[in-house]
């Protein structure tokens, strides 16, 4: 969700800065306004404890963890799966603590912790007052149907909970529809965000886990299921979800990180065979990957499409390598354990 909500969020943030009194509509996208980013937040899942690294683009310095020092060296908790910026706050989904921690972006001080989740995975904000959190339920290897919790960002309380498929992952918001990929199944649940009710379900290949929207308004889905014979990149128009273009991929547990640049004119995906850049019209993978390497986390800087790629073996601190839009390495910097996503401000 981080990268999906990104353009919206950074644009919203910018607008908030420019027009202080304005409460921007969530659908406002202004690609004409040049995006300038200075800071990169790196979400490090961690093993026994997660961390958020902060990279300063101009000085090229990195603070390995901004959370602990700002909060009396308190532990953030294990497996920080997701971070989402909403206005002046960041929402940190701590999977191993069944909680969402809210911090002020300015100083990263924790303002509130929201508990009561079941194995939370990803948070996606719809505007500044409401967010959705995917939750897993049950036990490996027999998980039960997951949920989407509706979170009131004003009161920081969980409201309605909607039952979806098994192991819901990273959501996508298009207009007033929330697409929820059920990674331990073969469906995408569609939720109407006006009524917060499940509206329909879209059949896709096994293991949908990542969603992005391209420049043409089409939705891309990465389907990768552990042990499946074949993985797929699937593309469809929200208007005709059953008419799907499917690109077959070699099955690989590390297939992941479906991303786009700001405009959605390039789709990135990091597979076991390498990291690829695809056109929105692609019907097959390119013969050669853009980067001959798989990454644990991937992010595209909306300012200049610089690629941020995180490596990790989870035995120790990881490295983030920066690549040009053409896939040439620029430099690298160290972060904490298990960088899975990048947020640009």
């Amino acid at each position: 969700m981080k990268r999906n909500s990104f353009p919206y969020l950074s644009a919203a943030g910018l607008l908030a800065l420019l027009t202080t009194a304005c409460n921007p509509d969530k659908e406002v996208i202004s690609p004409e306004v040049p995006t300038v980013t200075n800071a990169v937040y790196v979400v490090n899942e961690g093993t026994s404890n997660g961390a958020i690294s902060l990279y300063n683009k101009s000085t090229k310095t990195v603070v390995r963890d901004v959370y602990a020092p700002a909060n009396g060296n308190k532990r953030l908790g294990p497996y920080v799966q997701n971070m989402t910026i909403v206005g002046d706050n960041a929402y940190l989904v701590v999977n191993g603590a069944d909680s969402v921690q809210v911090v002020r972006l300015a100083d990263f001080k924790r303002t509130v912790g929201i508990g009561g989740f079941s194995q939370p995975r990803y948070l996606l904000a719809a505007g500044t007052a409401k967010a959705y959190v995917t939750e897993w339920q049950g036990s490996f290897p027999a998980y039960s149907a997951g949920r989407v919790a509706v979170l009131n960002l004003t009161t920081n309380t969980i409201g309605k909970r909607l039952t979806v498929g098994v192991n819901p992952e990273q959501m996508l918001l298009v207009d007033n529809k929330l697409y929820v990929p059920n990674s331990n199944g073969n469906t995408i649940t569609v939720i109407n965000t006006t009524t917060d009710a499940v509206e329909s379900s879209i059949d896709v290949p096994d293991g949908p886990k990542n969603l992005v929207r391209d420049v043409n308004g089409n939705i891309w889905v990465l389907c990768s299921k552990y042990g499946a014979a074949q993985d797929f990149l699937v593309r469809f128009s929200p208007a005709q979800p059953t008419q799907q273009t499917r690109i077959a991929l070699a099955s690989d547990y590390t297939n992941g990180n479906l991303r786009t640049n700001t405009t959605g004119s390039t789709i990135y995906v990091s597979l076991g065979t390498g990291t690829y850049a695809l056109d929105p019209q692609a019907t097959a993978l390119t013969a050669k990957p853009l980067i001959r390497r798989n990454f644990y986390g991937l992010g595209i800087d909306p300012q200049d499409n610089t690629i941020y790629a995180g490596t990790s073996t989870f035995t120790g601190d990881a490295k983030v390598i920066r690549y040009t839009v053409a896939g040439a390495p620029i430099d690298s910097f160290g972060v904490a354990v298990g960088p899975n996503a990048f947020l640009f401000r």
């Binding site: 093993t47 404890n49 603590a97 590390t254």
Partner: protein
């Protein structure tokens, strides 16, 4: 108590006799205690079962937890005893939780744990949980740091932990019962009964212990009590039965059973949700051995053992995962005395593994063989040499030939003083475990064995005062270096599954110093033990796919570790003891920046014996973590603050 150093120096000139006796030096516990308390070795008339590999381990260092040390932990675990008494690092996931050992900077799978000569590491993991081993059933715990593949087989790269529980002949019927209770819901009860006749010895022990471990996780805040550790309770039991029967002339039949069980809640990490993890572990270990001595020149032993482990683990997010392991092993040893100076032992080992686990595709069956030869040459009354060799045969793997050479030389010897120089060199190996080879997905059947080549050298000073003020002082200094090649690391591999690979070369080196002082007066006895270990463990070389940095201290290896303990007995009925252990900071990842701070832990006890007829009552108050230090040995797993235990023991005869 203590950790004493026992080396295998033997009385010069008594070679021939010593061979028969020493091989068996049965009353191992007794002999060790004797070494520590300054009594002269009194070798028993009848040899005992069980080979004594330390006879062929010249030039190495041995740490012995003798019965005096173990008496402080009658209801405790090996993890607790070793952490307090030996400069080793034990990674503990909470009190009573998984405890894994690190000797000389290696990881838990690099320590071979042998029970009466049989490797009892889980065959799936290749390592042991030291919280599952109760101290009570074993009369002796011996640790040999450093590579010892020729003597101890696979896994003895960082070291070996040798457990034995031989009942003593003679002494008639004896028994004891102990009950205790303490902080955070700790409670334990134990029973021990033994019978020793001239040709028959029996010993039975039983132990139950439990704890709630609902200790506070910090100081009071604004007058409100600190939150308490959830989900960390355990129940644990242990049963041993040992029997020895002398048969005919020079023959002995031994039978042993060791049953352990534990039902543990899994302590969640600080900051993590309580997922109500639960683990049960049950192990049964049975052994039968027959030894026959023929004259003074030959002794043969046959031993068979059956080991069975069943582990079940699950939590709110994981359905119970079952692992059932079964190992049948047989060993034979044949010892020859050649002339007056040479002893030779030839032997072999057969192992059959069976394993069923949720992580395996099907039932795993595997056979392994090993043959070994051990040679000791007492060249002169002051120079002793050993050369040992072992070759193992493991399917699809080629463990290297594992030779060991060792020497000890008494540089200076007087009536009361001895300075001995010692040195050894050894190659060791670790065959890939069942998980590393068969786990689905990711298991790598093509994995090579890890190999270690190590050297060590040192000196021992031993002073045994004559006369009424009986003083025994022993100091040992050892330096070592070891290279472990093909070190296995699990990394994401083809298909994206984490898969073990032979990735790196690791060098460990360090210094170990220890000193033991015993002083005996008619109304007062005192013992002091101190030990220190400097341990440097670095990855020297990696291979493609291994991104971890070079030349940083490995995770969970403290550079400095030390222990200090002292015991006092006054008028034979007042007991006072104290022990402290120190660990410098430990990195928690390979990148050497996150670390757990160093800590010093202090524990102490005061007790009183009271003798009524043939019964002796002992009331003991033990205090742990007396300075109320907040510390962790594994990141995020809280350890208890100050706590106390009160115990009452009644021993009959």
């Amino acid at each position: 108590m203590l950790v004493a150093l026992l080396h295998t120096r033997r009385l010069a000139g008594l070679l021939a006799a010593a061979i028969a006796v020493a091989r068996a030096l049965p009353a191992q516990g007794q002999a060790a205690a004797d070494t520590l308390t300054g009594q002269s070795h009194r070798l028993p008339d009848v040899a005992v079962a069980g080979s004594k590999p330390s006879r062929y381990a010249l030039g190495t260092r041995q740490l012995v937890l003798d019965s005096a040390a173990l008496s402080q932990y009658r209801t405790g675990t090996l993890a607790e005893a070793l952490a307090a008494r030996a400069p080793l690092y034990l990674k503990n996931y909470g009190p009573g939780q998984l405890a894994s050992i690190s000797i000389r900077g290696t990881s838990a799978r690099h320590t071979a744990v042998l029970w009466n000569g049989f490797n009892i590491n889980f065959s799936s993991l290749g390592e042991a949980d030291f919280s599952l081993f109760s101290v009570g059933g074993n009369t002796q715990v011996r640790v040999q740091p450093g590579p010892g593949g020729a003597l101890y087989g696979t896994g003895a790269i960082g070291g070996a932990v040798l457990l034995s529980g031989e009942p003593a002949l003679g002494g008639g019927l004896r028994g004891s019962v102990q009950a205790e209770g303490g902080s955070f819901g700790q409670g334990a009860g134990s029973l021990e009964a033994s019978y020793g006749a001239a040709r028959l010895a029996l010993r039975t022990t039983a132990l139950y212990r439990e704890a709630q471990n609902d200790f506070p996780l910090g100081p009071e805040q604004n007058g409100a009590a600190a939150p308490r550790q959830p989900n960390a309770a355990f129940r644990q039991w242990n049963f041993t039965q040992d029997a020895r029967l002398l048969v005919g002339t020079g023959g002995q039949l031994s039978l042993a059973a060791w049953l352990t069980g534990a039902n543990r809640q899994i302590q969640p990490a600080l900051g993590a949700a309580n997922r109500h993890g639960l683990e049960t572990d049950h192990s049964a270990r049975l052994l039968a051995a027959f030894r026959q001595r023929l004259g003074r020149r030959y002794e043969g032993t046959v031993r068979v053992a059956w080991l069975h482990d069943r582990l079940v683990y699950g939590d709110d997010t994981l359905l119970p995962q079952y692992t059932t392991l079964s190992t049948t092993q047989a060993q034979t040893e044949h010892s020859f005395t050649l002339g007056n100076k040479i002893s030779l032992q030839l032997g072999g080992e057969v192992q059959h593994f069976e394993a069923v686990a949720d992580g395996y595709e099907s039932r795993i069956r595997e056979n392994r063989l090993a043959a070994f030869g051990l040679l000791r040459y007492d060249a002169t009354p002051t120079l002793r040499l050993t050369a040992n060799l072992r070759q193992a045969v493991v399917p699809d793997q080629r463990p290297p030939l594992a030779p060991t050479a060792g020497a000890e030389w008494d540089l200076w010897q007087t009536e009361t003083n001895t300075i001995t120089l010692k040195a050894s060199a050894s190659r060791s190996y670790r065959a890939a475990t069942l998980n590393e080879r068969y786990y689905r997905p990711g298991g790598n059947p093509g994995l090579l064995p890890e190999t270690g080549v190590g050297y060590e050298a040192g000196a021992v000073y031993d002073h045994q005062a004559a006369g009424p003020a009986r003083l025994h002082w022993r100091t040992e200094l050892t330096a070592y270096r070891q290279l472990v090649d093909n070190w296995v690391q699990w990394i994401p591999g083809a298909g994206g599954f984490y898969s073990p690979r032979n990735l790196r070369l690791v060098r460990t080196q360090g210094l170990e110093a220890s000193t033991a002082l015993d002083w005996k007066r008619p109304r007062y006895e005192a013992a002091v033990r101190a030990s220190y270990a400097l341990t440097q463990a670095h990855k020297q070389q990696g291979y493609l796919g291994d991104d971890d940095p070079l030349d940083t201290q490995l995770a969970y290896v403290p550079l400095h570790g030390a222990t200090l303990s002292t015991e006092h007995t006054w008028r034979t009925h007042w007991l006072l003891s104290a022990s402290g252990s120190f660990s410098s900071y430990r990195y928690t990842t390979v990148s050497a920046n996150d670390f757990l701070p160093g800590y010093f832990l202090l524990q102490g006890s005061v007790g009183r014996h009271l003798t009524v007829g043939q019964a002796r009552f002992t009331l003991l108050v033990q205090g742990y973590n007396l300075t109320n230090t907040r510390y962790q040995t594994y990141a995020g797993r809280a350890m208890p603050p100050r706590s106390a235990v009160l115990s009452l023991r009644v021993a009959w005869r």
